[in-house]
Amino acid sequence: MVKKSSFWAQLSFSILIIIVLDLVSGFFIISDNYNSFRTPHYYFHHGLQADQDTWAVWGSSLYPFKTNSLGMVDSAVYDVKLKTDKERLLILGDSHSEGVGVSYNKTFSGILSKRLEKDIEILNASCISYSPKIEYLKAKYLFEEGFKVDHIFVFIDISDMQNELVYEHFEPRKKSWEHEAFYKSKLFFKRHSSIYYLASSIIVSNQTKQFFKKANLFNQQGLMGTPANVIDLYASFFDGFNDKVLLSNPQFHGVGEWYDNDRFGELADLGIGLGQQNILRLKELCDSKNVKLTISIHPWQYQILKGNVHDYYVNKWESFAEANGIDFINLFPLFINSENPVIIIKKYLISGDNHWNEFGHAQVADYLEGYIRKNVILKIN
């Protein structure tokens, strides 16, 4: 009996020592990773960790990055009340709306949040590589948490066609405290355990290598100058997508040209169709909660150069919105007008990138401020 208890005591002591050593060495080994605030999620695929005050990197840009208690990009770390008497508007979208490469206060949601704070609270639950399916799941998750909101603005662009195909078979796991606890402990170990850190670094590195093997476009098309941090994020979002034929086709990754391409036109329609199904699910959810849904569409660089404010993609979404009683905003005219498109790209987009720089965000904020004052605030008052 004594022997047995001594064995367990020794084992417990050894485990404790290993854990302590692991955590202490983690302090020295785990290096700064400017994207470590990003996290997979069992319900809405991926998102941002709550209460982060850190630096983020996008391409060559290093910028301050903060999240609130609900894991939403924000101007400060603070507790967001689930319910509020104030009118509340939630922004949902991908990297454009998250505002990659630009500090929050200079993004359109940061600017709007400040300018309109007297009348309405603006929160932003956007995240890189979100598309309608994940946006629907995120909204559903927040509603189930008891989050109160009055308006949801969803920001759509052509990358959603590809994302919807990638997420087509993603199934959220059941919302439960076990899953929450499992993910939270994973996050803890990711940040503090050297063993977990080293093992996950090897796994991620292998996954990225596998991705390059499958999708050899970065070598073939001479895109080696693309910053590794951008490629890593791009690679990680294909995790779980196993269509090797599509992945290995460079045109699959040039989503901007899908609907101008005979071979990819069908795929574009499939992606748009899936996106619209998910927006309808979101609309149904919003209706059940008495939330007003608006969708907004903005162009990529390729579309700016094409110069068509009512291209195939815009028409598809505009007619969809009209048919389903959803308010629709077309941001194309802000970036496609009588000005030279090359100058517009230089003025409003991050160099060599599809995302808005601070002036692009300011342009969007100016327009949306007018829209929200007229269509949201005026109606409340």
Partner: protein, 219 residues
């Protein structure tokens, strides 16, 4: 003490990156921004890094960096000058002039600031004329002379890619031979790898001026 060590460490990392010769542009950009974002940065070294950001073409990043540095050194005229350079390259002329004005208000006799001031104001004037041309494009059906005029204005502020875009639009409005001329000029431009871009674009504008005159004569 901690921030001092960290300053030295980051500075060493930058030097290693620079000396390795293998660092990509964006890695240097991040390293420079990382240094500047630290509380213990040295102002003169930071200003050198901003200049490096500018020389790498990271204009938005340089603006962010200057913004950080201004928090601690709000009366440093060189920072306003660097702000101005960043804004100028992002075609934000009003902000560029405003900041250079500010730098000059601290040091009116500084040639580093006063010399580019004249050319900056000239560029802003051309820029404002380009905005007027953009407006005219909305209200007319005869866009050929306006686009050519705009291409010439853009040429004078060295926006060569934009010039080529406008000339491309012009080539679609003329005869088949105008389109062929455009295609062959672009092909030469690429063959030369941009070395003779100014000469080739000058020839192209001169060609389209003749096309415009021909059109005017027909009218």
């Amino acid at each position: 003490m901690v921030s001092c060590n960290s300053e030295t460490k980051t500075r060493k990392q930058i030097e290693q990156l620079q000396n390795s010769g293998k660092a990509e542009k964006y890695q240097l950009g991040i390293a420079y921004m990382h240094y500047i974002s630290q509380p213990g940065y040295k102002i003169n070294y930071s200003k050198d890094l901003v200049k490096k950001l500018l020389s790498l073409g990271f204009f938005a990043e340089s603006i962010n960096a200057v913004e950080t540095l201004l928090e601690k050194s709000p009366n440093d005229p060189e920072l306003f000058y660097l702000y101005s350079v960043g804004y100028r390259n992002l075609l934000q002329y009003d902000l560029a002039v405003e900041n250079l004005d500010h730098a000059l208000s601290f040091q009116p006799g500084n040639k580093l600031y006063s010399e580019p001031y004249k050319s900056l104001k000239e560029e802003r004037k051309i820029w404002s004329e380009i905005q007027t041309l953009n407006q005219s494009l909305i209200n007319t059906t005869d866009t050929f002379p306006i686009l050519l005029d705009r291409a010439e204005h853009l040429f004078s502020i060295r926006q060569y890619d934009a010039v080529l875009y406008d000339l491309g639009s012009l080539s679609k409005m003329g005869s088949a031979s105008d389109s062929t001329y455009f295609a062959s000029s672009v092909s030469t431009l690429y063959q030369e790898g941009g070395r003779k871009s100014v000469e080739i674009l000058t020839d192209m504008m001169s060609y389209y001026r003749k096309v415009r005159d021909r059109k005017d004569n027909i009218k």
